[in-house]
């Protein structure tokens, strides 16, 4: 499951607009995988590492 899929499973109400404005997932193609580069959602808390494990 990708990071995007895990986050959507946690917060099904998120929309594509959220991922273009208040949330940014990034992958620097350095072998370290996807990560949350920005989380500025006004009501939903940034997922913890445990939630994303």
């Amino acid at each position: 499951m990708t990071l995007y899929e895990k986050i959507m499973a946690l917060y099904p109400s998120l929309t594509q607009k959220d991922f273009l404005t208040v949330i940014e997932l990034r992958n620097d193609s350095d072998g370290k995988g996807d990560y949350i580069a920005k989380w500025e959602h006004p009501t939903l808390a940034r997922p913890t590492a445990e939630q994303l494990a």
Binding site: T2, L3, Q16, E24, L25, R26, N27, S29, D30
Partner: protein, 187 residues
């Protein structure tokens, strides 16, 4: 040390003009005439080889994750005159203003609704190409961008990123996904 002008003694030998110890060489026009044309007829003016220019491309299709801003793997060199491109990143060692260009084509196995391509400077978005389409039959989009960007000649760098919304998105390779640039004016 004073500047010198010397000429070869045999046909075809170049004329050399040497600056003073500062390393600067100035051409001064007569009063009221502020144009110097070099050469004054046909021919070619050669510039220093220390003017970085590069061109790289993606050699094979790159798979990325939907809705995730992903660095594009410009892994194959066409040229890199000053060896300033490494690990998908251009970090010129000559300060100045550079023309930076990037073109990308992305696809999905199903329709794509959003494709965003960006040139990042020092880890932050600098130029964006934003492609959006509301259709169930379009699965391929593209981005073409160009900008004049200042680099400090030491730490400033640029990279290319892609963001695609779709099923199993990919970035197309070869002619369709390239990254290039060159110095247009030293600082």
């Amino acid at each position: 040390m004073a500047s010198t002008i010397s000429a070869g003694t045999t046909s075809g030998t170049a004329i050399a003009i040497s600056g003073d110890t500062s390393g600067n060489l100035a051409f001064q026009t007569q009063a009221g005439a502020n144009t110097i044309t070099v050469p004054n007829a046909t021919g070619t003016v050669m510039v220093s080889g220390n003017m970085p220019a590069f061109s790289y491309y993606l050699s094979s299709t790159q798979s990325i994750t939907t809705s995730t801003t992903t660095k594009i793997l410009f892994d194959t060199k066409t040229f890199d005159t000053n060896n300033n491109f490494s690990s998908n990143r251009f970090t010129p060692t000559v300060a100045g203003y550079y023309q930076i260009n990037m073109n990308v084509i992305g696809s999905s196995s199903s329709y794509s609704s959003i494709q965003i391509y960006q040139i990042y400077k020092n880890g932050n978005p600098y130029v964006r190409s934003d492609w959006r389409y509301q259709s169930a039959i379009i699965d391929t989009g593209s981005g073409n961008m160009s900008a004049i960007i200042y680099f400090n000649g030491s730490t400033d760098y640029v990279e290319g990123y892609a963001y695609i919304v779709g099923t199993s998105p990919t970035i197309s390779s070869s002619l369709t996904t390239q990254f290039s640039g060159c110095l247009v004016r030293a600082s």
